[in-house]
Each structure stands twice: as structure tokens, then as C-alpha cells.
């Protein structure tokens, strides 16, 4: 084989390898995806619903104050791995931990749900808070999940309790409950009247239905305030 033939053969081989790489890159997205160990992923990023207490049936104010450092993009409590050092291997789009946080605080109930949504549909849509993509502890519970879809009620509920667990107020529930909430589960208490344990409940409505307001938790037992003007 002459030198010319050898060069032509080498050029053809290199071209074939390049075309193969382009094809694999085009077809096989995973090759460009970054791997992220499962232990660092939240349930929604694993593509299934988070475990939620089945006793929860739903319901839903500003008492949970997220520490300033958690409402920023740092999220240090999570010890999220450096996003540039990891790879994703599933269908979840890479979610940057530096997503700008939307305006509403996760537990801002100052208006206590009395705000009326704008009557005009267009105004209502424009009044909705901007949502980020993906979620880390301390961020807005209604953020879209990593693939851009709406978070399910279970995901919002799980995010809510994880956020509460990171607040100063969480301590009032006790260490056991802080641990429960850090795993996305509601706090429990002993009801001395019924002699039974009961879980705090959280009704989750859609983002649009509540105008972006965060859900409000409550205990199962509710007493009537006879001096509240809204009491029938």
C-alpha cells in the first residue's frame, strides 16, 4: 500500500469515526448528560411521587420564616453537589441550583388568603408569581419540576414540609417532627382529648387556583371562634 493510499484510508477511517460520533451524539442524548447520584435527587427528580402520609386528605399562613440564606441560591443545607462536576443519566433536564428565586416566600400568609384574584382572566395570569424550574429546599413550592411540568400535589406537599423543616420555627414541633418534615412528611402531635396521634394537614390546590399563594397547614381539630365576624 502506497503512502497516498494509506493517507486516503486514514482520512476515510477518521471521517467514519466522526460521523459515528455525531450520530451517537444526535441519537443518544445520554452521552451528553451528566450523571447525578440518586442520593442527591429529590423524589420528583426521580420521576415518581414522594412518599406522603396517606392519612392526609388536604387543607391548607407567614409563620414559617425561611432563613435568608436559604431563600438565596446557595442552599447550603442541602450540600448539593457542584453542578459542573456531575452528570444526569435520566430524562430529567439538568436543573441549575442558581435559578433566580421567585418573589413569594414559601410561607408568606400575611394576607391570610383574603386576597381576591383579579376578576379579569388576563390580569389574574399576569398577577401570578414567576416560577423557577426545579426546586431545592427553601425555594418556592410551586416551582415547576425539572422537566418543566406542573408539580403534583404530593410534590408540593413534600416540598412544603421540607421547607418548614429548614425554618427556625420548625423546632416547636420537636426533633422527631423536624426529621419527619425534612423527609417531606407532616408533623404529628398527641391529641390529649382523643388520646391519639394526629398529623398536620395541608390542602394543595393548583398554582392557578390559589393565585400562587403557598398552602396553609392546619391541625385536624378546629374550634369555632364565636366572635369572628365570619363565623356563621
Amino acid at each position: 500500500m502506497t503512502t497516498t493510499e494509506l493517507l486516503v484510508f486514514f482520512a476515510i477511517a477518521m471521517l467514519a469515526i466522526a460521523l459515528l460520533a455525531i450520530a451517537v451524539d444526535w441519537v443518544g442524548k445520554p452521552i451528553r448528560r451528566r450523571f447525578m447520584p440518586k442520593m442527591y435527587r429529590f423524589p420528583e427528580e426521580l420521576g415518581h411521587a414522594a412518599p406522603v402520609d396517606p392519612s392526609l386528605t388536604g387543607w391548607s399562613d407567614q409563620y414559617f420564616v425561611i432563613p435568608d440564606e436559604l431563600t438565596t441560591t446557595g442552599g447550603h443545607l442541602l450540600e448539593w453537589p457542584d453542578i459542573d462536576d456531575v452528570m444526569l443519566d435520566d430524562e430529567v433536564e439538568l436543573v441549575s441550583p442558581t435559578i433566580p428565586e421567585p418573589a413569594p416566600a414559601p410561607f408568606d400568609y400575611a394576607a391570610d388568603g383574603d386576597d381576591e384574584l383579579p376578576s379579569d382572566e388576563e390580569d389574574a395570569a399576569s398577577a401570578l408569581p414567576e416560577r423557577g424550574l426545579g426546586w431545592q429546599r427553601g425555594q418556592y413550592v410551586y416551582n415547576l419540576v425539572g422537566n418543566g411540568s406542573e408539580p403534583s400535589a404530593d410534590i408540593v406537599r413534600t416540598r412544603f414540609w421540607k421547607n418548614v423543616s429548614a425554618t427556625d420555627y420548625a423546632a416547636v414541633f420537636g426533633a422527631v417532627n423536624v426529621d419527619r418534615m425534612s423527609r417531606g412528611r407532616p408533623p404529628r402531635r398527641r391529641n390529649p382529648r382523643t388520646q391519639r396521634d394526629e398529623s398536620m394537614r395541608l390542602a394543595i390546590a393548583s398554582f392557578e387556583e390559589v393565585g400562587g399563594r403557598p398552602p396553609k397547614p392546619a391541625w385536624p381539630t378546629v374550634e369555632i371562634d364565636p366572635f369572628d365576624p365570619s363565623t356563621p
Partner: protein
């Protein structure tokens, strides 16, 4: 360990804290036609406090509202409140305290508990809400039991 945790560990509604008998709930024997007169003596103004009452097998009537359980909030209820007991037989009224933090009603968590001191015709009830250290001045009320 918080009062709520002490209640849980002991499996009782009564624990001893620094020599004082602390209750999760105070139970009073009542009968139909009796009255309970509640007077708020002091209240922590950092957050709304409530005295909660519930009757077992009957109704409580306050200011024209009848219900099995009611909450007298420091932000809405007058200082002195009279409660009519509606019951066909002798029963009990449970009394405990709650508080609101940012609009969320809480009770029986953290350092929540009450100390009931018998006085002539009733009790002086000193309540600690669950937030922060035990403080039985968060809500102090007097509950007088007027029998029919």
C-alpha cells in the same frame, strides 16, 4: 425536652415541670344549665393566644353561637365571656390553650401546657404557648364555674 415531648414520653396529660403540675388539658365537671365565666387576665401580645374549650356530649353557647368546641382568641373575644352549657347529663368540659403564628392555629406542640390553680368557684389557668421557653404568662385566665 419540651413540654409536649414530656407529655408524649410520659404517656400522660399531666407532667411535673420545675415542681409545678403542668397539664395538656384541664377537665371540669359540668352539667346542663351551668355557666362558665372566663376572664382574661394577662396575654402575650407577640402573637394571638386562645383559650379553647370543648364539651363531651353537649354544646357550648357563646354570644349566640352554639358549638361543641370553641376558641376564645385574644384578638377577637372580649375580656369577659360567659359560656352556657347545654347538656342532657353531667359531662366534662376540656380546656386548653392555643396560639397563632402567622395565621396558623397551633396547640399541644413545643412548650405548650397549662397550670391550673383552684380558686373559689373555679380555676386560674396559666398557659404557656409552644413557642420559645416555657412561660406561663403567655395567657392567664380565670374560669369560674357557676352551677345552676
Amino acid at each position: 425536652m419540651s413540654l409536649a415531648e414530656q407529655f408524649a414520653v410520659s404517656g400522660s396529660d399531666i407532667v411535673t415541670w420545675q415542681g409545678r403540675t403542668v397539664r395538656a388539658v384541664l377537665r371540669m365537671q359540668v352539667d346542663g344549665g351551668d355557666l362558665l365565666r372566663v376572664s382574661r387576665l394577662t396575654v402575650n401580645r407577640e402573637r394571638p393566644q386562645a383559650l379553647k374549650l370543648a364539651i363531651d356530649g353537649g354544646e357550648l353557647e357563646v354570644s349566640g353561637t352554639r358549638a361543641e368546641s370553641i376558641a376564645l382568641w385574644s384578638t377577637t373575644a372580649p375580656r369577659d365571656v360567659t359560656i352556657d352549657i347545654h347538656a342532657d347529663a353531667p359531662t366534662t368540659v376540656d380546656i386548653w390553650n392555643g396560639w397563632s403564628y402567622g395565621g396558623v392555629d397551633q396547640a399541644w406542640v413545643g412548650n405548650a401546657g397549662l397550670v391550673a390553680q383552684p380558686v373559689d368557684g373555679g380555676y386560674t389557668v396559666q398557659c404557656s404557648d409552644g413557642v420559645g421557653a416555657v412561660d406561663f404568662t403567655d395567657l392567664v385566665v380565670r374560669v369560674d364555674h357557676v352551677k345552676r
